[in-house]
Amino acid sequence: MIPLIPLPWFLGLAAFMFFCGVFGALTRRNAVGILVAIELMLNGVTLTLAAFARFLPPGADGATPLAGQMLVVFIIALAAAAAAVGLAIVLAIFRTFSSIDSQQINIMRW
């Protein structure tokens, strides 16, 4: 079966998703908003990996479709862990400063 949707469509869409996330992470003042943007970036990357795993021929260096899907599964697991820890940090900051404005949290600045 020949794939109907060509590979560059997936790659371009993933790049769009990633850079939406970059913009959000750079500009949001709310720390939860930054977490949302980071999730967006991570998902763009997983989409790229899944597309490569599907389209590229198996390489001689062990680059099989199975390896690509494994990589995506591990990235999703680590992203979930990152989201949980990040949110816990945000809640701790909120309890300390009663604000999660990333402009006001500057105790680590010297």
């Binding site: 967006l40 998902n43 389209f55 995506v72 999703i76 697991a77 979930a80 949110l87 701790a92």
Partner: protein
């Protein structure tokens, strides 16, 4: 003649469906990403993120990775989005209208993101990828076997990382004892 017609009808109907499904997923991802990055109301942004994640799940299905489709729905739409909604609601004091949602580097960040997106998209779409003629689909059973045989070490490491992250999140988010 009849055979050819039947064959073309057989092959064009799935093509149409796949095209329509791709268009829907594409639209979901584009709208969801823009909304998640741009919307002022953070709760709406999280809901748009859920839309984008659903779109990516649809794209996984189109890449014939059914396992990733299920994982995406379970972990992201069912887990991470709920977690983020909790986060938004627990810290909702931030939703005061007098605090601008963006910092001062918005213009520079927009230019940077646009420039990098154009460069990346140009490279990704013009590079002559060696696409295999018959892309292999990985059955779910093979993924299960791979997780417990070839990739068992990373699997165990990730499980330990998840455990540590869970304990760490509980410790971080716990209220401090007030005896001091």
């Amino acid at each position: 003649m009849d055979e050819i017609l039947a064959k073309s009808a057989q092959s064009s109907a799935p093509a149409l469906w796949v095209g329509a499904a791709f268009a829907v997923s594409f639209g979901l991802v584009v709208a969801g990403s823009l909304g998640a990055a741009l919307l002022k109301n953070l709760l709406h942004a999280v809901l748009f993120l859920a839309l984008a994640l659903l779109g990516v799940a649809g794209l996984f299905l189109m890449l014939s990775s059914t396992f990733l489709f299920v994982v995406q729905i379970l972990v992201y739409v069912g887990g991470v989005v709920i977690l983020l909604i909790f986060g938004v609601m627990l810290t909702s004091k931030m939703a005061q209208p007098d605090i601008p949602p963006r910092n001062r580097q918005t213009l520079a960040a927009a230019l940077l993101a646009l420039l990098l997106f154009c460069a990346t998209a140009y490279v990704l779409t013009t590079h002559p990828w060696m696409v295999s003629a018959e892309p292999p689909a990985v059955p779910v059973a093979e993924i299960g076997v791979g997780l417990l045989q070839k990739y068992v070490l990373p699997f165990e490491i990730v499980s330990v990382v998840l455990l540590v992250a869970m304990v760490g999140a509980i410790v971080l988010a716990r209220r401090e004892p007030e005896s001091k």
